[in-house]
């Protein structure tokens, strides 16, 4: 495919901005750039076709099954997009007066109330722009809490060894050091290891539940109690909330603060890697440390206010507002019955698909799973030489997005499958037969799997060369 720059022809362009209707400004030449940026010069039709071609080489949720574990690639309802595109939202300046943006403030206020009820929290901020940004913000709440109590010794965050890489990275950014907690044989937190790890230096525990192997930790109440008894706080990573919303709440499991991924659980689209939204909720005793500003209601009017001991800002303005509009529309649509129905559907679909595969693929934990399950292809690799990567790449030939590969790190040759609730039984049946067919190929023709995919626009890219001699921008001919 040609790059934009290769489609450029000098002198082409579009008539978008009128000639100036007031006298021009002449800046001192020392303030001007020496040469124009080499932006493409391109007609509207060529520009349109360029992106139509790029779109054809992009697999979205509507291009087929997308069981990317831990990412909750559910269908993105069209009405949510339509609401986010309303000029009454897109045309509002973030610094126009509160009185003239009451609708926007109400969106955030109502969404906060709904998400607090779903998570069992008391207050929430929408400033964080993605999950990792939320983790950072939540950990700063914990930091501020200990600091305010003069408890400077609490410098360690406990993170299970099965955790996503953002957890330890966020903890370090928030000024903590990380203690890794081993998993037990069931994939949950090893209670003895946890008891041994907590102490007067424990600031808190970060946990995903259901965890990254797709299981609900049955010891959850004991886990949070151990941490609390040691004086630490419990942080809930909401990456896997789609399994449990409406059935059990982080707040009722003993968690003190939580981040959500609106772009996972609440069906706002991923946009090829953002924008997302990672609101952070907390119990009442942490509200005073939330980022500024918050929104309160006063006789039917909405006002910004500053929490008493705010951590300050983690982003400009009020976060990814249009993502919040989508999530509000989604929750209003599902409501009291639809929210628990969606998560139960996600869990049911995962178990249904796992059940179809478990006689052929090794499951890392053969039990009832939550919204996702993890297969280990270690035995297959040993017997046939076919790796998790090979199977994943072969799935591409069947129009399916592969599961998450090689995660969590505690499972070897892992494939993590999350079907979500918005797939029909037929889709799951088809996916199962594709998986089983590939297993057959692995035994009869492993070579063809090593070279998969065979029907994509490109084969496997040379990642080694890309990293050794990075080419990170187009090089113009001189």
């Amino acid at each position: 495919m040609k790059l934009l720059f290769e489609r450029s022809r000098t002198g082409r362009g579009q008539s978008l901005i009128p000639a100036c209707d007031v006298p021009a400004v002449s800046f001192d030449p020392s303030l001007l750039r020496a040469e124009a940026p080499r932006l493409p010069e391109i007609s509207e039709v060529d520009l349109g076709r360029h992106y139509t071609e790029l779109a054809k080489q992009t697999h979205g949720v509507n291009d087929g099954f997308y069981p990317l574990g831990s990412c909750t690639m559910k269908y993105n309802p069209r009405i949510d997009e339509e609401m986010a595109a309303l000029p009454g939202f897109t045309g509002i300046h973030p610094l126009q007066g509160e009185d003239t943006a009451q609708g926007c403030l109400e969106v955030l206020f109502r969404l906060e109330k709904l998400l607090c009820e779903i998570t069992g929290m008391d207050g929430m901020t929408f400033q964080p722009a993605a999950g990792a940004h939320g983790e950072y913000t939540g950990l700063l709440l914990i930091r501020r809490y200990h600091q305010a109590r003069g408890d400077a010794a609490r410098t360690k965050i406990l993170v299970p060894d099965s955790a996503h890489g953002t957890n330890p990275a966020s903890a370090v950014m928030a000024g903590f050091s990380v203690v890794s907690i081993p998993s037990n044989a069931q994939g949950g937190v090893d209670l003895d290891a946890l008891r041994a790890a907590v102490g007067p230096d424990t600031a808190g525990l970060m946990l995903t539940n259901p965890n990254t192997v797709g299981l609900f930790d049955p010891n959850i109440l004991e886990i949070t109690e151990i941490v609390h008894r040691a004086g630490g706080l419990c942080y809930y990573d909401g990456a896997n909330l789609n399994a449990i919303m409406g059935h059990v709440r982080p707040g009722d499991m003993g968690f003190d603060c939580v981040h959500l991924n609106l772009h996972k659980t609440f069906s706002t689209p991923h946009g090829g890697g953002g924008p997302g939204s990672g609101p952070v909720g907390c119990k009442a005793f942490l509200e005073e440390y939330l980022p500024e500003p918050r929104i309160r209601e006063e006789n039917g009017a909405y006002r910004f206010c500053t929490p008493a001991h705010t951590m300050g800002r983690v982003r400009s303005f009020w976060g990814n507002f249009l993502v919040a509009v989508r999530a509000l529309t989604y929750i209003l649509t599902l409501g009291r019955e639809g929210i628990p129905e969606a998560s139960a559907g996600a869990v049911l679909n995962a178990n249904y698909l796992m059940n179809k595969l478990k006689d052929s693929y090794d499951m890392s934990f053969d039990t009832i799973c939550m919204h996702e399950f993890v297969m280990t292809l270690e035995r297959l690799k040993h017997e046939t030489g076919v790796s998790a990567m090979d199977v994943a790449k072969r799935l591409l030939d069947f129009g399916m997005h592969p599961p998450t590969m090689y995660f969590p790190l505690i499972v070897h040759e892992a494939l993590m499958v999350e079907p979500t609730e918005t797939e029909s039984p037929e889709t799951l049946d088809e996916a199962a037969s594709v998986f089983l067919g590939i297993l057959e190929e692995a035994r009869t023709d492993p070579e063809s799997l090593h070279s998969a995919p065979h029907s994509c626009p490109i084969g496997r890219p040379d990642e080694v060369t890309a990293a050794r001699s990075p080419v990170l921008r187009y090089k113009f001919a001189q």
């Binding site: 493409p40 509207e44 997009e81 953002t166 330890p168 990275a169 300050g312 009291r336």
Partner: protein, 438 residues
């Protein structure tokens, strides 16, 4: 009322039976009974029509201004029609981060094109695939500069106060010292910088045009910082870079900024786009996703996420940043915008914005009580005095469908873009004149 689940209740019952269960309850058998939620206390679900009406009513509660003379970090530029058409394509909207390169060449190539455009715009060597917004870009850039033997950031109080807030938050948690230089006259004084710069400071951050619209003396700032061995982070308005000298030309080490003016609507503050670009020497310290060009086994050009060993999923607690999801669709928006505008279009948007702002500044300066606060060169924002409480002025402007400048402690921060017409500008000045007479 709907959960977008395609299967019927009967089908779900059959699926339950297939896995050997009789009820949904059994799926949650590992959840302690005492923690189970009895009732989710939120309203019943709505039909699509009701939801559209409810959310539409909220949108209707907001006041949309016909003419906007306020910027301060969010700018009302013209957005070409094709930008929305392209960025609402379902594939781009609904795809995940392009981990599987073979079926993600569209997104990957668009990021590569974006990175190239940002490099061209800023005069830098390397760009990442975006961060959350301009404020986070500034904070991440400050973190990039911290070394064992050099730490801390020095920045003037002429930077966007929200950016300063985010930089403070990020620095506080990593114990990075922040020194804010007070200024007089709406721009950084080079001698003050020289005096404040200890020889172990990691970086100087400056914004030009700054929060008050003034073009800082970046040549002097860069020279002084480099003399002291500190890196220079320059924040710039991307539209201004269609016309004005680039961070690369000034000799900055890192260029950052808020990308919202490049085709993103105001949207009450987000989603926006943080752009970050740097000199080649700092490439491996750049946080976030980066796309690189390579070949597949047939030798065909293709694109992949690269330099991943920097990132959290590999380096975990040693990662340079925790960023994972970024603002990919906003980066694509900026890329389509820049391609549609082209070098001539972007320059015209910059020139017209500046011309309108200078026209308004001239008219206001002639009105008693609305004098310009400084004679320093500015781009498309400027500060004037205000002879009445700014709310009084805004109330009058509300009747005209106009959003006036942002009230400051000592005046009003005005902004113009190419969208403000001569007629609007003259009408605004007329109203200010009326107000000043009362």
């Amino acid at each position: 009322m709907g959960s977008y689940i395609p299967s019927t209740a009967e089908e779900r019952q059959r699926m339950l039976e297939a896995i050997g269960l009789s009820s949904t309850e059994e799926l949650y058998r590992d959840v302690p009974a005492s923690a189970r939620l009895k009732v989710l206390d939120i309203p019943e679900g709505m039909s699509e029509m009701e939801a559209a009406q409810a959310v539409g009513a909220l949108a209707d509660k907001n006041r949309r201004y016909r003419a906007i003379f306020r910027g301060a970090g969010a700018y009302d530029h013209y957005i070409p029609a094709i930008v929305k058409t392209v960025t609402s394509k379902e594939e781009f909207v609904t795809a995940y981060t392009p981990y599987q390169a073979e079926i993600s060449q569209g997104v990957l190539q668009s990021i590569f094109e974006y990175q190239t455009q940002i490099c061209e715009l800023t005069g830098m060597d390397v760009s990442n695939a975006s961060v959350y917004d301009g404020a986070v870009a500034a904070a991440e850039a400050v973190m990039m500069c911290q070394e064992h033997k050099r730490s801390g950031v020095v920045l003037p109080d002429t930077v966007d106060p929200q950016v300063l807030g985010v930089v403070r938050t990020y620095c506080e948690s990593r114990s990075v010292p922040v020194t804010v230089l007070p200024t007089t006259g709406y721009a950084l004084d080079a001698d003050a910088l020289k005096a404040a710069l200890a020889d172990n400071v990691a970086c100087v951050y400056a914004q030009s045009p700054n929060f008050y619209g003034v073009l800082e003396d970046m040549d002097a700032i860069t020279a002084i910082a480099h003399e002291a061995g500190a890196k220079v982070i320059m924040a710039a308005n991307p539209i201004s870079l269609g016309l004005l000298k680039t961070p690369g030309e000034y000799g900055a080490d890192i260029a950052v900024g808020e990308g919202q003016p490049l085709g993103m609507p105001l949207s009450f503050g987000g989603p926006y786009l943080g752009f970050m670009a740097c000199k080649a020497a700092m490439m491996r310290k750049l946080p976030g996703r980066i796309v690189g060009e390579t070949v597949d086994k047939e030798g065909r050009r293709c694109f992949v996420l690269t330099l991943q060993a920097r990132e959290q999923h590999i380096r975990r607690e040693k990662a340079s940043s925790n960023i994972c999801s970024n603002e990919a669709l906003c980066a694509m928006t900026a890329s389509v915008y820049l391609a549609a505008m082209g070098p001539a279009g972007l320059k015209r948007a910059a020139e017209n914005s500046a011309a309108h702002a200078h026209c308004l500044a001239g008219l206001l300066n002639a009105i008693p009580g609305f004098e310009l606060k400084t004679a320093k060169p500015f781009f498309h924002e400027f500060v004037t005095a205000c002879p009445v409480p700014p709310e009084t002025l805004q109330k009058r402007l509300d009747d005209e469908g106009m959003l006036g400048g942002l009230p400051l402690d000592d005046g009003i921060l005005w902004c113009c873009t190419e969208k403000n017409t001569r007629g609007q500008i003259e009408r605004l000045a007329e109203i200010c004149r009326e107000v000043s007479r009362k």
